[in-house]
Every structure is written in structure tokens, then in C-alpha cells.
Point group: D2
Chain length 344, copies 4
Amino acid sequence: MKVSLVGVTGYSGMVLYHLLSQHPQVEKILLFGHSATATNENHRSTSGLPSYLNISDPLLPYDCQTIEERSDVVFFATPAGVTSQVAQPLINDNFPVIDLSGDYRLKDPLQYQKWYHKEPVAKETLRKASYNLADLSKPTSNYVANPGCYATATLLGLAPLVINHLIEPDSIIVDAKSGLSGAGKKLTTNSHYAYINENMLPYKVNQHQHIPEICQQLHQWNDQVNSIQFTTTLVPMTRGILASIYAKAIKPTSTDQLQEVYQTFYADHPWARVYLDGFPSVKNVSHSNYCDLGISYNEATNTIFVGSVIDNLVKGAAGQAIQNMNHLFNFDETMGFNLIPDIP
Amino acid sequence: MKVSLVGVTGYSGMVLYHLLSQHPQVEKILLFGHSATATNENHRSTSGLPSYLNISDPLLPYDCQTIEERSDVVFFATPAGVTSQVAQPLINDNFPVIDLSGDYRLKDPLQYQKWYHKEPVAKETLRKASYNLADLSKPTSNYVANPGCYATATLLGLAPLVINHLIEPDSIIVDAKSGLSGAGKKLTTNSHYAYINENMLPYKVNQHQHIPEICQQLHQWNDQVNSIQFTTTLVPMTRGILASIYAKAIKPTSTDQLQEVYQTFYADHPWARVYLDGFPSVKNVSHSNYCDLGISYNEATNTIFVGSVIDNLVKGAAGQAIQNMNHLFNFDETMGFNLIPDIP
Amino acid sequence: MKVSLVGVTGYSGMVLYHLLSQHPQVEKILLFGHSATATNENHRSTSGLPSYLNISDPLLPYDCQTIEERSDVVFFATPAGVTSQVAQPLINDNFPVIDLSGDYRLKDPLQYQKWYHKEPVAKETLRKASYNLADLSKPTSNYVANPGCYATATLLGLAPLVINHLIEPDSIIVDAKSGLSGAGKKLTTNSHYAYINENMLPYKVNQHQHIPEICQQLHQWNDQVNSIQFTTTLVPMTRGILASIYAKAIKPTSTDQLQEVYQTFYADHPWARVYLDGFPSVKNVSHSNYCDLGISYNEATNTIFVGSVIDNLVKGAAGQAIQNMNHLFNFDETMGFNLIPDIP
Amino acid sequence: MKVSLVGVTGYSGMVLYHLLSQHPQVEKILLFGHSATATNENHRSTSGLPSYLNISDPLLPYDCQTIEERSDVVFFATPAGVTSQVAQPLINDNFPVIDLSGDYRLKDPLQYQKWYHKEPVAKETLRKASYNLADLSKPTSNYVANPGCYATATLLGLAPLVINHLIEPDSIIVDAKSGLSGAGKKLTTNSHYAYINENMLPYKVNQHQHIPEICQQLHQWNDQVNSIQFTTTLVPMTRGILASIYAKAIKPTSTDQLQEVYQTFYADHPWARVYLDGFPSVKNVSHSNYCDLGISYNEATNTIFVGSVIDNLVKGAAGQAIQNMNHLFNFDETMGFNLIPDIP
């Protein structure tokens, strides 16, 4: 099997390249730049690849025909606004695409415009894409919109509660924390080491672009859920997300009962681990494809707390993309991953 | 003015010693060990002081009489369970005490026992202590119970909402994050560098010992508030707390209105800074006595979000203790502090 | 092929378990505790394994016969002082052993005693062990003494200079820096997060136990080298070593000439990468088995500077151990490794 | 006493502002931008000051006359290339200037050009500036060239050895490590959090612009010293320098003897602390004006090792600048500093 990868220089692309290189079904990886659009002028160059990536060949210039002729699937690890402009021919040909960007995640073009401040794809095209949380379903089309990192941690944490109708639908509060790699390689005041080291700060409060895809999915699971309170906080680390989730229980319950609900829900899901004692730490999933979950019920406030941790670049991006590829080609969903974490 | 300091080797004690040494009214600092009780055997030694503290004299053995005779006020920067056993003579003599530990914070001895798992002080003695959030009031007695670090960030963030009855009393959720110094110098698996670096984790969920003092104070401000949802998360940094506070508004409001409420509330309070644009980062208050506050209202969920940041060792411990000393002796509450932060 | 692993709970053991689990020739990993000796009482327990290791079976009690009967090779990821007491039967039977500890590295028992402050193995037994820097040679016996982390970075950095007689033999100075995982999981004042974060410090100056194995190997390469100046510095990171190496050139040379020497020397060595432009950073080898090398010559001081970086837990311990196993069983030395680094 | 400060937005400027605000002799601080030159266009704006600096007034536009009329001394915390263009009128008027930049440090204009790649000041003007390491001497003119951070740590570490002729003059090797604040606020690939966290790397090997001022000073102390080997390494921390210094002893000595030499040398110098046991860590001097020194002699290699640590923004920049101001106005050299460190 041959795969194409568009965009290897960003963090997700680098991790994807690492994971693809150890997948037993992948015999060749073709690397493409994504210079097709005027707005991505600066990515046109095929040189300047970091030496540590061990890439000897120059990047190929982006070209749909080459991709289709020379490979069996293509991954896009590109920023927002790229696939919306260049992927149409692949959709037309029903060629397998796994898109790590946000361009095809939202079914409503106006929502995309509102949250991404970019030109959306046409509604009928969006319908052909399958937003697929790889741990809970298989893609329903050949164009997979891979979920965002915050969305993955949040949705896996909320699924058992929302699908089983255990919580008040308007009571969901998510306090999500992320390391710096989630914001990409862009140089900003916020990403300077001397600023972020020994620092943490809320950012994009109620404005993060992963909010609408979370609401869209929750609403699909339970149409009474229409909105959530969602705060993102930057913490001084490179990789990792902790989504701290709060919701009011519909009726009094207990920590034990809830743990059982989660265990039952995730019984056949190899990448979700439910803790019966305490809460997971981000390091427990670092560099792995796991989502680890801890649950607690507080009688005094009738509130359920869920701690959901992932590595934002693996489960929250490249790892889930491989999982979606495994689904698409009917491989086992754990294929290509090392199940033993790489710690410390 | 001469001050006694019991417990200089812990983090709060070290910062207190630093701050006292630059206070214009303090001419001498007497340093005491706190070996009076059998349970603190290991603190008996007066040697082993870190050289960087620039302390040439050995610690004095703890003795109430010496303290009263040779100084005008005593600070206790001791772990839970010390002042409950050794401070009674000072209370009897109405000698000025500022106690950074939790021993005299809770008015109900059973609550102390429940949350601290230690023998409480008698109820009538507890009544003689004044739990005093230094930014909002002055001590009403000579024995000041200095608030805990999480409690300070949380209460300063909630005060305008609770005192002005702007939120549903049973809707308060606090997601508080702290660096490692909050947990003290104790060596545990959780405090090992290789464990905490590139890691974060929820801990003591609904079980942190600062919860009852927060509820006690909130209830005093508004007797409809009886409980809160409170989660503590360890993040990889040394100093700093971010309390992320959520509550449902009693009636629809706006970010602008709320910012005005906070500005009015904190107008004459030199150590609270209300942001009109965005949210504070922990670094903005690092090594300072400030509490910085950002507020946001979300129409979609009718939820108010407040970000409250402090340096846990200054505003959350030693700095507030000095502020309480300033109150006790009628000094200006900013006396002894450098108002310009020490950044980066 | 079945392998036994004694000591999975330390950092090297954890990484070894991760790497063995992805080795194509390894079908089973048996995990043993190492409680055979009274001094290791605390390791006797077979419970208490971290859940993230995904180990369902309890650890087997240490037993040479079981190891020999049920596996083809055994790895010891144990602290100093264990294999010296328990490995003799395996040596007697010429069973393949890869020992990550320092017990069999030094040929002179008195040196072991001097630097490790422990009882040494008998001289004739030591002779049966093969100290083998896996990038430069193959083991000459079935008992492999795997080199230490500092020794690996230093020796790979010095080999081309010492073997080619390019430097003054008494002029070698190594300023080696390491992250915290190099010091193991032991809780000490030095390992507390709040102490090491935003800190660095020289430690064990001229006293690090890897000094004698470096000198032993250098002397074997060039008998004029008898001693080196070696300083170890702790820096605030988890994984990684940078050995900064200085030596006087025997005759004036140039950066270009030296880079060519290194390229030639390492031409057929897949795990050493020589930089022609600038110096490697630790991140370039993080979580990988590479040793990256940069070289520079300073005319003004006639001094050669070499920067040598490795991941101390992979190339400096578990990775090299796998490499040595590959040598022992005539597998390709890159077998079982992902050649694409896992960055950031 | 009134002081002017040109350049408050860089790290040194921020720390200088903090320190000046607590100096008992400073009653007013005037803040100036440094927009006088075309090459600093981007600094022209007087808005955009970080709110945490507590600066209510806008920056004054740079103007020598205003500075001279309204203040008694001016500090320049500006990048290289500014004072060389704008300070001439102040020199002509013999107005007290403390220049934290490198523009007036080197006596030879060609050296400045070679190392800074900028247009130098005329030789006769350079003669009017006094390069003054504040711990060892007093300025000899009203224009003080404040030493660089690496130079300060290195020179204080080498002074007793070089001045007392204890080492081979051509044997000096300095392996200096610095946190990120030393490189300033500029956004570069090297300063991105996700790159530097869990990383370290040599940079500017033999090319750092502090090398010539170190050699100039060493040569002045001992004219046999003409060059040094000097490597700079970036480590993942914000503040702090460790200069690890190596040199061959002229005749065999001992650690004890050397410690005595250092103690005698620094006996009357309040800001240098000599360790008799072990080596200093950077945290011991963090946020303080101290330089802490540890010394060790290795018989086997006849090599002296000195570990010298400073806070690069205090002792290595703003603190030393205040010390130089204290010298210039005959204040005690510890005036304005808190002698108790602010730890952790």
C-alpha cells in the first residue's frame, strides 16, 4: 500500500510521517508540499526540510493526478483553508482522503465561515465528507474529516453521558488545557519560551474553532444538547490535552455506577482506558494513541466530573488519522501502533 | 518593629523571609524552628539551613515567651497540625499572630477533622481567630488565620458575583490549576521532575482541604451558597495558580456589564487588577502580590467565566500575610511590596 | 524468540519494554522482579506496577532456571549491585545476557569498588563479560555489559579523534549535561520539580561512575590516554544528554577536515549522524536511537569542539541494549527501531 | 534623584525598571523609547506597553536634551547599534550614562565590527567609555559600558586565577549555558516553546559577541592571555547562566587551596559567594544580584574547574547596572537590592 502525505513540516505531519513509517501495510510514503494556492506561497519551497526527519527526496509539488496515480490514500496535514481549495478533484473521483484540517468537519458552511473566518466549501460537497471520531464509528464515505484535538478529548469524555442521557443537556462545561504544540509552529508572543515557561493563561475563551464540531456531534448524539461552555487554557508543556468536563446529573448517581457505565461503553474499544481508581495524567498517554478517562460524582453539587487525557498530536491528530485509515481499509484499528507507551 | 518567624525552610517561609527583609517597618527578624511537638521531631535541628538563605544565626528553639518578649508579632509558616498544638499561650496573651497554616481557618472543629484528618482546636479558641482575606477586610482579632492559596484566588474571583447576588448559588464550578510549590517541599512520586515535567493531572478532586474555607466564606457573603464543585489540577510549573471559575447568571448580562461590576467592586483595592481586554496570564502576577482578573459572559449558555490568577506563594501565602500584618498595625496595605512586577 | 526482562519499573526498563514490544523477532516478553537479594527487599513485590505499562500479569519472581528454560536472552535493567550478585549461574551456562547496569563494565574490580562503593565481581568473571559500544563493535561473549549513558555520548564523540590519534592524549575535557531521567526514579532534593525547574547545577564533579569506563575504553583505543576531565551538569529536562567535548589538536586542522574524518569514520554506522552545518540539538535524537555529532575547530586556541547528543534512555540504555541483542543474534542492527524520529 | 531609562520593553529594561523602582535614592523614573534612528522604526510607538508593567504614562520620545534637563543619569537597555548612534551628545556633555548594550565595550572599533556586524563608534569616543565589571572596580568615567551576561559570569569565575597567575594562559575553556531570556524577546525558531522545551543545543560556537570583551579584560589582567575557547549552550529555562570554566594549573594545587584563594579574593565583595562544599545551582542566585562560585581541582588531569552562576538579567544586566550607578554616585554597592533571594 502506498500513501501520500501533504504537509509534513507541521507537528501533525511530522508525527503522521513517524507513525506511517512503522505501519506494516504501508510500503511507501510520498511527500507533497501544498503550494497549490496563492495564500500558501511560503510553503511552495520543497527544500528547507529539517534534517532530523531523515527525508532525502525533495517534496513533490502538490498535484491531485500524481496522488491518485501513485498512491492508495492521501493524508492532508495542512492548515485550515487548504483542502477547501484543492481537494475537490479527489472528492469527485471518490479517492480516499483523510483530512486532518478543519475544512470539512462542519456540515454548515456558515458555521465554518463564522469560526474559521475563511471561505467555506459548498454545502453539497461537505455532505460527501464523513466527520469520524475513530474510536466510536467507521467512516461512511471515502473523504474522512478527522476530528480536532480538543474535540476528540471532549467527545470521548462526554459520549457515555450524552448518549446514555445521564446529564442535563444544558449543563456541560469543559475546561480544556493544552500544551503548545496544539497551536502549531507559528511564532507568536504566546509561543516564546520565556513567555510560556512558568506561565499559563486562558485563551480563545468561548471562541475556539473546535466548539462547533463538538456541538454538532453532541447534538447528533442527543438533540437536546445545543451549546456548551468551553474554555481553552495554555499550559507550559509541548504535548498533551486534559479536558476537565463538568455536567449536572439528571438523577443522583455514584462514582461507582458511572465508572461502570464508562467501562461498559468502552468495553470493546481498545484505545479508551477507564480508570477505577483516581484520574489519569497526561503522561500516561504521551506519545500514544490512548484516551484515558477518570470519572467522579459529587453528591454535594450533583455534578459529574470527567478527566479525559490524550496526546494532542497522536490521538488528537495523526494517530486518529491512522485509525481512520485502518477503518477505511478494514485493517484492525490498532494496526501500526505500539501498544506499550513510551515513558517517561 | 521586630518580627518572629516560625518555619523558614518551607516555600512560604522562604518567601515570607524575603518579603519581611524588605519591609520598611521591620528592623529585625527572629527565626524559630517549630520542634515543640513530638510529631515534628524532624524539624528540631537548627542546622541544615540552605546557604542561599543568607542566614548566619542558627534557628532559635520554639518558645512562646521568647517570641512575646523579643518581638511584636509572630508569623507561623508551618504545616497543618503545628499551631493547633503550640499557639494557645499566644492567644491567651492576645499576642499578634499571623498563621499561614490551616489550623484556625475553619470555625467548625468537625470540618477541620474531616478535611485535615488531624485533631482540631477547641471551638471557643477558634472563635478568637479571624479568617481574613486581606484584600477585602481587616482582621477583627489579633490572631489572623491567613487564607489558603486556592481559597484566595477563588474567593477574589467570586466575591463580586456572590456579594452582589449575580449568580445561581448552586451553580459554582471552580477548575483550579496550580504549580508544584503549592504542594510543598515533600518528596513524592508526584513531585519528581521526570514525572511532572510534560505532564498535568487532576488530584484531590472534591477533596482539597481549601474547599471548606471557601464554602465558609461564600456562605458568610451569601447564605444561599452551601457547596461548590472544586477540582485541583497540577501543572508543570513552580509558582502560580489559575482559578477558572464558572457560574450561571441569575439574569442575562454581558461581558461589559460584568467588567464594570468588577471594576467598581475593586476600585479601591490596590492589589486586584481587572482586565477590560482578554484574560490575565499567571506570569503577569508572578513574584508579586497582585490578583489579576478577567471576566467573560457567554450568552449561549448563560454562563459567567472568571479567570483569577495569583502567585500562590505571595498573594496566596506570604504576601497576603504581610498585608494582614499591615492591617493589624495600621500600615498602608501596600507597604513593603515592590509594585513593579519582576518579569520575565 | 522469547526474551526475559528483569526490572521493568525503572526508566530504562520501561523504555526497553516499549522497544522490545515492537521488535519483529520478539514474540514474548517475560517480566521478572529482582528480589533475589536481601538488599533489594523493596523490589520483591510483584504488584504496584504502573497501569500505563499495560502489564496484566504479575511480575515473575527472579529465578535463573526459569529464565533459561523459558527464554532465549535476558536483559537486566537493574540498579548497580544486582547482577553482581545474581547473574553468576547465567554466566556459568553461557546464557545470553544483556546487562544495562554498571556491574560488569570495568575490568578491574578495585575500580568498581572505588567508583560504585559496592562489592565487585571476581576478576575472572569480569573477563567473561564483553563491554560493547554497540555502534562500533559486536559483543565478543554472551554476557554483554551495555555502556552507560554518559559513556556512550562521550565515546561516540571522541572515537574518531582518539582512534585516529588527532588530539593530545592528556587534553580531553568533557562537559556533559543530562536531563533528570538519567538519575533514575529515586526521590531526592535534587529531583523535586520545584528545585530543578528553572535550575541547573554541576554535580558529581570528577566523581561520576561513568568516568572509569570511558577511560578504560579510550585507553584501549589509544594507550596514551589515561585520564579525562569530566563534569556532569543537571539541566531541567526529562530525557537527553549533550556531551560537549574539548581537546587540543595534535597539529593545526580545520572544521572541514574534521567533519570529513567523522563522516568517513561513521560512514557505515546507521545510528551516528554527522552534521556538516552547525550542531545537533537534543530534540533531534529524542525518543530515537541516534547519536548526532557536530564538530568545530578553533584556530585561535587550536582546540577541537565536538557536540554529541543522545537520548539517554534509548541510545544511552535500552536502545543500545536492543542493538547489542541484534548483534548477538546476527539481526540487522537497526531491526526493531523506527528510523523516523518522534518529534516534537 | 531622577533617572531616565531608554528601552523598558526588553527583558533587561523590565528588570531594570523593577529594580530602580525599589532603589531608595531614586524618586522618579522617566521612560523613553529609542526611536531616534531609522533602523529602529518599530520601536517608535509609545503605546503597546504590557499592562503588567504598571506604566500609566506613554513613553517619552528619545531626546538627549530632555534626558539631561530632567534627570541625573540615563540607562540604555537597548539592542546593539542604538547607543553608538544616539549617545554622542551625552558623552560630549559628560552626562552620566550606563549603557547595557555592547556598543562601547570594546576598545578596538574593528573588533566591534567583526563580532557585532555593525558600524562602530570612533576610537577616541570609545576611549571615553569605562568598561566596568562592577564587582571588581569602579567606573573611571561618566560613560559606563556595562558588561555582558556571559562575560560577567566568566570573568568573575576567572579573575582570581588569572590575576594571581595560577593557570596556563592558553588553557582556558569556558562551557557556558544560558536560559532563553539571554537571547531576548525576538521570535525565532530557536525561541519557540515546543522547540526549546525538552531540548538543549550549542549555538554560536566560538562566535558569541561576548568573547572579545572577555579576552580584552583577561588580557588587561594578564597580558599573556590572548584567547579562550568559548561555547554557548541554550538550555530550557528562562533565567540563569552557568559558566563551567576549565584551565590547567601552572603548578599542582588542591581544592582547599583554591577555595582559600577565592575566599581571600572575594572577601570584601558582597555579591560574590564562594562555596566551600560542592557547587552552586542557578536557583541559588535566581532573581538576585549574586554570583556564586564553586571550585574543584583534579589531580589526575591537573585541571581546575570553576562553576560560576548568575541571573543573567540581574547580575548579568540590570543588577550590575544599578551597582555601577551606585559606584558612580558613591552609594553603597548593595543599595537598592534585597539581599535575601526570592526562592523557589
